[in-house]
């Protein structure tokens, strides 16, 4: 039985350059800051960064798995506060956890935390999940 304050188990997703390429192809977002290190640095970024929407898609997977599938997610929002930095040859973590913040008829609202290398990457991340 779900209760307000229930903590949902933390989960780690691993992001590498290959995943960024696959996400670029699947989403149509071919912005070179997500694939080309020289370009990313030329516009003042420390390195290639993950698409904010890839981060959100992975958090969406976390929420979907808790809710019982993609169809369970009714509302989903987040602010992109810091980029996930993806150096060549590395797998960087996206560490996700959540708490049930409210019970509503037929579902629950979650407040979600997402960090990479200990840095908060999403702010105000929330979802409404239908059971």
């Amino acid at each position: 039985m779900t209760e307000v304050g229930e903590v949902i188990a933390e989960r780690v997703f691993w992001i590498d350059r290959e995943m960024l390429k696959r996400y670029a192809d699947a989403s149509g977002d071919q912005n070179p800051i997500h694939q080309d290190e020289a370009f990313a640095k030329s516009v003042g970024l420390p390195d290639v960064i993950a698409h904010g929407m890839l981060t959100m898609a992975l958090v969406g997977k976390y929420v979907s798995d808790w809710g019982g599938g993609s169809k369970s997610v009714k509302e989903f929002s987040a602010r992109f506060v810091k980029p996930v930095i993806v150096p060549a040859g590395e797998k960087v973590d996206l560490t996700v956890s959540a708490v049930v913040s409210e019970l509503v008829e037929g579902g629950a609202r979650l407040t979600i935390s997402a960090t990479s290398k200990g840095v908060k990457v999403l702010g105000m991340a929330k979802a409404l999940v239908a059971f």
């Binding site: 997703f13 995943m19 696959r22 996400y23 192809d25 699947a26 989403s27 149509g28 977002d29 904010g52 929407m53 890839l54 959100m56 898609a57 992975l58 969406g60 997977k61 929420v63 979907s64 599938g69 993609s70 169809k71 997610v73 009714k74 509302e75 989903f76 929002s77 987040a78 602010r79 992109f80 105000m124």
Partner: protein, 129 residues
């Protein structure tokens, strides 16, 4: 700088957008989702962000897309997207403000199928000074 007259305007997609199974499957595979029967919750960004770019970059609207970063994102999903869906698309520039020289624009995108609203998506975009 965004043309202030464009705030509040709604732009309709020139032609309907169809969703294929291979698009849903490819998107799902990237995030490790093995159920391809419905689209993952954020799949619609594939449709709406490109449309927002086209609208906002139009010389009449005047946003400099090359300096855009995604500030925040929200979805309201009335039913999941499935293969074979054909959407009428529209996008409304809901707000525009300038903070410390950065422009902040919120665009709401709606996907309708056979007259029903399937999904609304709000993208807040920041144009760096």
């Amino acid at each position: 700088m965004l043309n202030p007259d464009s705030v509040g305007r709604t732009f309709h997609g020139a032609k309907p957008v169809s969703v294929t199974q291979s698009e849903i499957s490819a998107f799902a595979e990237v995030i490790g989702e093995s159920d391809f029967s419905v689209a993952p919750p954020t799949f619609s960004i594939r449709i709406t962000l490109e449309q927002s770019q086209a609208i906002l970059s139009d010389p009449e609207v005047g946003l400099d897309w090359s300096r855009v970063v995604h500030g925040d994102q929200k979805f309201e999903i009335h039913r999941p997207i499935v293969a074979g869906d054909v959407f009428e698309t529209s996008a409304t520039i809901e707000s525009h403000k300038v903070l410390a020289g950065n422009e902040i624009v919120t665009v709401r995108s709606d996907l309708h199928s056979k007259g029903d609203l399937v999904l609304s998506s709000w993208s807040t975009l920041v144009v760096r000074a």
